[in-house]
């Protein structure tokens, strides 16, 4: 014990850091901030440490070469003792880190912590969010599988839409004309050197400011921030009713950090690592690329935007969003901090959360994507084929053979790209069905060139049987008048 003490004293006599470390640890914080709401920032930091450690471990085996990366991931998963677990920790750590950073941001926003004098802390925080998302995206690329390959293609397609410079940006991003060896090498450099370097620098500035300016006090309705008086009021609060950060507040941070680390380890052990999916060979086209969880919402947005809106929305949207976040502390730098007095702030958070949640959930089953193998793998449910004429069954065959099932569902089976056809005969008359099949429209391709008249007749005959038992199909009333009562009754069979 005495030896440790004397070594400590010897070191401190030379480093001379002891006093400032002690002062930092014991600096007073407002009593109410020793709260479970104030643990997310430190938790994000701890997860970042985990990412650094597991990242270095993975780099011991991973080969950042387009020809070798996928194989080295297989080696990690199967040949290196507990390699799969380290990959799991790193992958789940990434998801947890993005989630905690977002929660931290919401908490800071709702507690008004971005207001005077912590504007710069918030701005650096915005950069930290962007850099964290940058880590998530570049990390997804390093898991060099089919999703990574085509994800890069999507990134390049988006970047190429920048006016004038788009093409050069794509070449810079890919390091050449195609997604290949140089692409992976530069994303490796970004993920391992550049972006973490920025992250460490931003974290240092962020933490320094939290220490210099003090942690945000617990917002009380009616306690209004004014630039003239705030610093004095905060100082009084910490001096009169404060407690030392260590051990007064830090124990909750420690407990929560341990809980998060344990959760990541549990997820890694139970669910295992992410992928890799198929090898990054672009000649294997039987693939349906999907982005990682935190980019799923973007995947959904990209399928819903009308074509004409897409390029402006993709290029201007993020810029507007980031500028809004950066301007927030300057526009609303004073005033109420408490969420109880800031209904628009609360509504904004709810709106963003509901929107992101909805888009993410939609992207989970991607109703906009055709089910590429529905025509051959998902049969028409038997109830749609019972007691049908030969012509109608021929139509059902054409329905499958012409891949209608890829975009249209029957009995909740098949694609969701187009409307489900369980009761299409109630919605459309025979003429309307023929027109829709031949001419397409409303986001459906035209099949006129691809269906013979006989095939169209059979297909429409089948579609006309698709109505609920107690409900008759839609009929064109004028038809009966023009062609006689028989024509209105069963036009197809009469032809």
């Amino acid at each position: 014990m005495r030896l440790i003490k004397s070594i400590g004293e010897w070191l401190d006599a030379r480093l001379q850091l002891g006093t400032s470390i002690r002062e930092t640890m014991e600096h007073p914080v407002p009593r109410e901030t020793a709260s479970w709401f104030y643990v997310f920032g430190s938790a994000a930091f701890v997860v970042f440490m985990l990412q650094i450690v597991t990242g270095i471990m993975l780099a011991l085996v991973y080969v950042p070469s387009a020809g070798e990366a996928w194989n080295s991931l297989q080696t990690l998963n199967h040949d290196v003792a507990l390699g799969w677990f380290i990959r799991g920790l790193h992958g789940w750590g990434s998801n947890f880190m993005v989630a905690i950073v977002l929660i931290h941001m919401v908490q800071v926003f709702l507690f008004g912590a971005y207001k005077y004098p912590r504007e710069l802390t918030w701005i650096v925080g915005v950069f930290l969010l962007l850099v964290t998302l940058g880590m998530a995206f570049t990390g997804q690329v390093l898991r060099f599988d089919q999703d990574a390959y085509w994800g890069l293609g999507i990134g390049a397609s988006i970047a190429s839409r920048v006016p004038f410079m788009g093409h050069s940006i794509v070449n810079l991003m890919l390091g050449g004309p195609i997604i290949a060896g140089t692409t992976l090498s530069r994303f490796f450099a970004l993920h391992v050197f550049v972006v973490p370097g920025l992250l460490i620098a931003f974290v240092a500035v962020h933490l320094l400011m939290v220490l210099k300016l003090g942690i945000n006090e617990w917002p009380m309705p009616g306690r209004v921030v004014r630039k003239a008086t705030y610093t004095k009021e905060y100082h009084e609060l910490t001096q009169k009713d404060g407690l030392p950060f260590v051990p007064g507040a830090i124990w909750k941070d420690l407990f929560f950090a341990a809980f998060i680390l344990l959760s990541i380890a549990a997820c890694a052990a139970y669910f295992g690592p992410f992928g890799p999916s198929g090898p990054p060979d672009p000649t294997i086209i039987q693939t349906a690329p999907r982005p990682d969880f935190f980019f799923l919402w973007l995947y959904a947005v990209l399928s819903f935007l009308p074509p004409s809106m897409e390029t402006p929305a993709l290029l201007i949207g993020p810029v507007v969003g980031i500028i809004a976040l950066l301007l927030l502390p300057f526009v609303f730098g004073e005033g109420e901090k408490s969420w109880r007095r800031r209904p628009i702030a609360v509504l904004t958070i709810l709106l963003v959360a509901v929107a992101l949640g909805t888009f993410t959930r939609l992207a989970g089953n991607a109703p906009w994507s055709p089910v590429m193998d529905a025509w051959s793998a998902i049969p028409i449910p038997p109830e749609f084929l019972h007691n049908r004429s030969a012509l109608e069954r021929q139509g059902a065959l054409i329905f499958q053979d012409k891949q209608c099932h890829n975009c249209h569902s029957l009995g909740d089976q098949g694609g969701k790209r187009g409307p489900d056809l369980d009761a299409v005969a109630v919605r459309l008359t025979q003429d309307q069905l023929i027109r829709q099949v031949i001419q397409g429209g409303g986001n459906m391709p035209a099949y006129g060139k691809n269906l013979s008249p006989a095939e169209t007749t059979a297909l429409v005959a089948f579609l006309e049987t698709l109505h609920p038992a107690g409900q008759s199909p839609a009929r064109d009333a004028s038809r009966a008048i023009a062609l006689g009562p028989e024509a209105g009754a069963s036009p197809v069979t009469r032809r």
């Binding site: 999507i154 788009g166 195609i178 990209l302 055709p370 975009c407």
Partner: protein, 180 residues
């Protein structure tokens, strides 16, 4: 030190030192920036595209659309399988061809050909194209990207080498041409 008014020797040397480092910085920055921009300058100077044989004409029967693959002309030793590129070859009538890029004109996902319905479908956001590559439905703003082709000694050659993207100059030109 500050007793002497005006510029001291030390001040002068410090400023000269800063100036010297500034010049050295610029001297170093020029090659660094040129190094970083090499993918762009290479494209500007020589271009990435060249004529690549896709195979004998017999591989592409008249009236059918078949998948073809080629090794990208610009490769490095670390590319592995990523330099193998696929494309769709449509033999229109035995004489004329259309060669489409595998990449959807929306966001670059690999489109698949369905001969039964004569459609190209994209698995990502549901873009669809007719057999001649024109847009059928979905989010794409335009038809499939098309490579220039020529026939030489019974072989089909295409001019390729770069992943087509919506912002590429040659593609924009082609788009305008098809519009006119």
């Amino acid at each position: 030190m500050s007793l002497i008014r005006g510029v001291t020797r030390r001040d002068l040397f410090m400023k000269a030192g800063i100036f010297l480092n500034g010049i050295v910085g610029v001297i170093l920055a020029v090659p660094i920036v040129r190094y970083l921009l090499s993918p762009v300058t290479r494209e500007r100077k020589a271009g990435y595209d060249s004529w690549i044989p896709l195979g004998d004409l017999e591989q592409f029967p008249s009236g059918e659309t078949r998948l073809a693959t080629y090794r990208n002309p610009v490769v490095s030793s670390s590319d592995g399988g990523t330099a193998n590129i696929a494309c769709w070859v449509r033999n229109v009538d035995g004489k004329s061809f259309q060669v489409f890029a595998i990449n959807c004109a929306h966001l670059g996902c690999p489109v698949r050909w369905f001969p039964q319905s004569s459609l190209f479908m994209c698995p990502c956001h549901g873009g669809a194209y007719y057999q001649d590559g024109s847009r059928a439905s979905g989010p794409p703003e335009r038809g499939l990207f098309e490579y220039d082709y020529r026939i030489e000694g019974g072989k089909l050659l295409i001019k390729a080498g770069e992943m087509p993207t919506p912002g590429q100059a040659s593609n924009i030109v082609r788009e305008i041409r098809t519009c006119v």
